[in-house]
C-alpha cells in the first residue's frame, strides 16, 4: 500500500537578515533529506516554490518578520513539515546559546 500523506505548517522568520544565503542553504539541505515533495511560499504570495531548490528559496527574498508557509506531499510529509518549521523557529540554529 502506498502511504501518501499531506501536511502543512508555517513559521515566522526571526532571523536578522531574513532568508538569505546561509539560512536558505540550511533549509534546502534539510528539505532534501525527505522524500516528500515540499513547497514553500512567502506571506501574501500565491506561488509555491520547491523547498529543495536554493534558487527558488533565495528567489523568494523573504525578510525578517514575514511568515513562511510550508506544505508537503509524500510518505514523510508530517515529519518534513515538523523539521522545516522547527528550523525556522530555531532561527536556523544560528543564535544558539554559546
Amino acid at each position: 500500500m502506498n502511504v501518501e500523506s499531506a501536511a502543512e505548517g508555517s513559521a515566522l522568520i526571526t532571523h536578522g537578515i531574513g532568508l538569505h544565503a546561509r539560512p536558505s542553504v540550511k533549509l534546502t539541505k534539510l528539505a532534501k533529506t525527505f522524500t516528500s515533495a515540499i513547497h514553500l511560499r512567502g506571506e501574501g504570495v500565491v506561488d509555491w516554490v520547491d523547498a529543495k531548490s536554493i534558487v527558488r528559496v533565495m528567489g523568494l527574498k523573504l525578510r525578517e518578520g514575514s511568515t513562511v508557509h510550508f506544505r508537503a506531499h509524500g510518505p514523510d510529509a508530517p515529519a518534513a513539515i515538523d523539521a522545516l518549521v522547527g528550523l525556522v523557529k530555531r532561527d536556523f540554529d544560528e543564535h544558539s546559546a554559546a
Partner: protein, 538 residues
Amino acid sequence: MSIQRPERIFTGTAASPGIVAGRLRLHARRRASQIAAGSPVEEALRLDRALSAAAARLDQLNRTVDEAARGILEFQIALIEDDELVEPVRRAIASGAPAPQAWRESLDGQVADYEAAPDANFRARSADLADLRDRVLDLLTGAREAENDAPPNGEEANIYVGEDLSPSRFLEIDWGRYGGGALLSGSANGHVAILARARGVPLVVGLGSAELMGGADAILDAEEGRLIQDPVRLTRDIFDRRMTTRRVTAAAEAEFLPLPAVTRGGTRIAVAINVDEPSIVDNIDPAHCDGIGLTRTEFMFYSPAGWPDEQKQYDIYARLIAWAKGRPVTIRTLDAGGDKPISGLTPEGETNPFLGLRGIRLSLARPEVFRVQLTALARAAFLGPLKVMLPMVTVPREIEETRRLLRAAIEELERAGKPAAMPSLGMMVEVPAAALNVALFEVEFFSIGSNDLVQYVTATSRDCAAVGALHNPLDPAVLELIGRVVAHGAATGREVGLCGDMASDSRYLPVLLGLGLRSISVAPARLAKVKAEIARHG
C-alpha cells in the same frame, strides 16, 4: 640546451617586503580558447563536465577553509547542485546555443535579478552568482588556470605570477608553495597588500604588461618593487648576498620575538598585533605579543556566505579572546567605506569616499547592522578583556551614540538571560579634528591610525605617486598631532597606542618612541623586527 634569454628587469611597486629567488609560475588568466561549438549533445556533455569540475573544486575548497569561514562556499555549492539553475541552460543548449553562451546568458539574468533586489543582503549575493558564473565559464572555455598546478612543495622556490588577486583568492593560495607573489595590476595599499604584509609574503604589484615567461628563473625584489627575469650570474650574486644578509638579520631579530619589548633605557613598550582574517593567530604564540591592538572586522563582511550574523561575529571574537589568554583584545567596529567598499552597505557614487560616509559614520547611519556587531561584542566582553575601538571618530557625539547603543544591547541581552558585559570603549584618532579636540572625548583609550591621519593632515592620498613627497609621516604637523594625543593620554592616565604602518617602519618608530608613545600594534610578521628595533632605541 635552450638559447639563453637576456636578463630583463620589470618595475612595479613593493607591496610587502622580502626577496625571493625562484621559478615563475604564471597564473595570469589565459584568453578563452576557441573551442568550436559542437552538437547540442556534445555541448550538454561539456556543460556537465564543467559543472562537476566546478562542484568538485568548490567542495575541496570548502573543506580547507578554516573553522570561522566554514560554510563560506556552501551557497555556491548548493546553487551548482540545483536543477532550477541548470535546467534553463540545458534548454538553451538543446535549442542550439553553445554551452558557454547558454550558461553566461542564464547566469547574467540571475545576477541581474539579485542586483535589483531592494534588500542589501540579497543584493550582495550577486557577487557570489557572478563568481560561480565565471568559475564555470572559465572551465567551459579553458580559461581558468588549472587549479592543481601549484608546484610541489619541494626545495625549489616558486613565485606566483597573476593578473590581480582578490582577498579571498589570496587566502585560497597555499603560500607555503610560493616564496612570494608578483601581480601585473593591483595596489600597494589594497587589502591584498595588507594580507601579504601580515603574513610576511613578499609581494610586488603593478608590473604592468610585463612579458613574463612561465618556468623562467627569476628574482622577486619586493624591497625595490622589481622582478628580474633570467638574472645573469652577477645579478644573482648580488641578490644572494642581500638574501644572506636578510637571513642573518632575521635570525638576529628572531631572538627578540619571545621577549617583552624593552628599550635600551629600560622602558617597556607594549607591542600588540594587528589581525585581519582571524585564522592568522593560529600560527602566533600569544606570549610573543601584548594582545591584539587592532582587529579589522571588514574582512568578515567579504565572506561569500553573507554578512556575519551575531553568532558568527561572536564566535570570531570569542576565538580571539580565547587565543589571547587574558591579554587585551581590541576589536575595531566595522570600518567600511573609503577604500573598503562593501557591496550593499557603503554608498555608491560618492565623489570622495575618503571624506564621506565611512567608519563610525556609516555604522551610526546603519544601526540595524551596527547593533548586530555591538551585541556580539557585548556578549564577547563577558569572556575576557575586550576593547572596542571606533574608527573615523570626528566628534564626541559619535562616542555617546555608540555607548547608548552598546548599553541598550547589553540590557536586551540581560533581559534574555544571556551573559554580557560592557567592553572598554575607545576611539581611533585619524581625523585631524579629533586629534585637535582630543580632550573632549570621553573614552577609555586612544589608538592613532597613522595611515589615515597622515593622509588627512597632509591632504595627500596614499596611492598618488605624484604627491608622494608630500605624504610624509614625519611632517611636523603630523608629529605635532601625535604628540598632543600622547601628552593627553599621559596627563589623564589613558592608554594611547598607534596601529598604522608607521609603527613597524624603522624610519618612524624611533621618532614615535621619542614622542613618548608606549604602545604600538603591528602586523604579526613584523613582531620580531619591531621588538629588535625597540631594543636598540634610547
